[in-house]
Amino acid sequence: MILKVDNVTKNFGGVTAIKETGFTVNPKEIYGLIGPNGAGKTTMFNIITGNYAPTSGQVIFRNESLSGLKPHQIVRKGIARTFQNIRLFSSMSVLDNVLIGFDFQARYSFLESIVRFPRFISEEKRIKNRSMEILDYFGMSSFAHDKATDLSYGQQRKVEIARALATNPELLLLDEPAAGMNPSETEELGEIIKKARNDFDLTVLLIEHDMKFVNQMCDKVLVLDYGKTIFEGRPCDAIQDKEVISAYLGDFHND
């Protein structure tokens, strides 16, 4: 077990977004978090990453409670994320975007950067090489010096994942990675994620609406509805579960 969400509840004012939900993710698993809109999936992500403090319950990562840690500290423990609507740094190059992931791994001090100590130069070289390696892995190194937001949507998604991998995570949270992509892009992305899981020793937790994608990718899924767990198990069983079907039908009716 690498991640354990332990009986978490989250209230916003009077509204309960997540109610007494828990699940565990095992190392190297690709775990899907699914459910209709407003089911509390992104809220769950924000609790794991420390953006929200749970009203009760806790998150345990590698046998260590994350309670009270700030979001940037949680990243340094080995949890990285992407966003539902891609959020690259718009004024920066692709390379600089990935370099941000190395921010806390570059070992030089403020004064060393001002007077350009040898350690500054060697460390910058090291993280630049590492960044280029990661970009190369995603086939993006030729775009390294382009402005990140000038790329196509699919390319931006890859840069965002590359950027998250730069933080050297053990657990990668992907918030609707296939959203806005065409079927061939989605398939390519799925392959990359699976490959990266093996090459980077990753555990992946993802939110997704595309059930085909989930079926193809995930070893296990958790279905949330109105902040409560209604199903946990294999994705192929989920789509036959009565409660899951009615939750989704209800959602379609609302649309």
Partner: protein, 298 residues
């Protein structure tokens, strides 16, 4: 300490606090819908004071009509500033909005300075406002009673608008979620302009009360008051109208009471609001009645 002097100071504090509150409401409402510190708000209060002055001294209007002129004129100015300067920047980085606000503030201060001079002009206070009346053994001018009374009336009206009308609900919804307002079938931009109008109208009333109390107007009168009123809004809890009133009263009372009881601190009077601001940011950043905005917008 003499009981009557003490009561006198309490009333002064309430009166000053009410003025801060009137101005703080505008800050808090604009921050609620736009997350903008509207630096020009204090200067709109100054314009309100000047319009009142012109109404009485130049046009020879009765006091009530001059107040109406100031309220309408300031509301129009506030709405115009939104329409011309802030609306084109809705999707721009927030820093652009803030810089524009500073620009408008500086423009108002300096153009009034250029055209009307920096020397304070005596405000023609109507005689009945200066008349001393006795209330349970205390002598005080009519204006000292009028300010809190009018503030309470205006506050009731504002709260009624916010909680009982469709537009008020839209204003409150806008503070949390732009989409909800669009779903209600209301143009969010119109709501924002309305907020500027309401806030500016209240600031004009505050400006006239200020002018009556000190009896003068000058182009820079809104600078420090604006700063203090914003501090009041943060102390009370930014985004909350009730909070703005509480914050305004706290700062008003503190200024009056500390100066009355520790005259040696008189030189630092203008620093109290700032100290409150720092303390509240350190210990309760959401303020006394604060809403947790960050989480609502993530």
């Amino acid at each position: 300490m003499d009981v009557t002097i003490f009561m006198q100071q309490m009333i002064n504090g309430f009166s000053l606090g009410s003025m801060y509150a009137l101005i703080a409401i505008g800050y808090t409402m604009v921050y609620g819908v736009l997350r903008l510190i509207n630096f020009a708000h204090g200067d709109i209060m100054m314009v309100g004071g000047f319009l009142g002055y012109f109404g009485i001294a130049v046009l020879g209007l009765p006091f009530a009509a001059a107040v109406l002129l100031a309220v309408v004129g300031s509301a129009l100015l506030g709405m115009a500033s939104d329409r011309i300067a802030y609306r084109p920047l809705r999707s721009a980085p927030k820093i652009s909005l803030l810089i524009t606000a500073i620009g408008i503030s500086f423009f108002l201060e300096n153009s009034f300075n250029v055209f009307f001079g920096g020397v304070p002009r005596a405000f023609p206070v109507p005689p009945y406002m200066e008349k001393m009346v006795e209330v349970s053994g205390l002598m005080m001018p009519v204006s000292a009673i009028l300010v809190p009374v009018v503030t309470v009336i205006l506050l009731v009206i504002i709260l009624w608008v916010l909680f009982k009308t469709k537009y008020g609900m839209a204003i409150r919804a806008l503070a949390f979620d732009v989409d909800t307002v669009n779903l209600m079938g209301i143009d969010a931009n119109r709501i924002i302009t309305l907020v500027f109008g309401m806030g500016s109208a209240l600031a004009a009333v505050g400006g006239i009360f200020w002018a009556v109390n000190y009896p003068s107007v000058e182009p820079m009168m809104g600078v420090l008051v604006g700063l203090k009123a914003f501090a009041a809004a943060v102390v009370g809890g930014i985004g909350s109208v009730g909070g703005a009133v509480i914050g305004g009263l706290i700062i008003g009372f503190t200024e009056v009471v500390v100066v009355a009881f520790f005259p040696e601190l008189g030189g630092y009077k203008d620093a109290f609001a700032f100290v409150f601001l720092i303390l509240i940011l350190l210990f309760k950043p959401t303020g006394i009645l604060g809403l947790d905005f960050e989480k609502s917008r993530f």
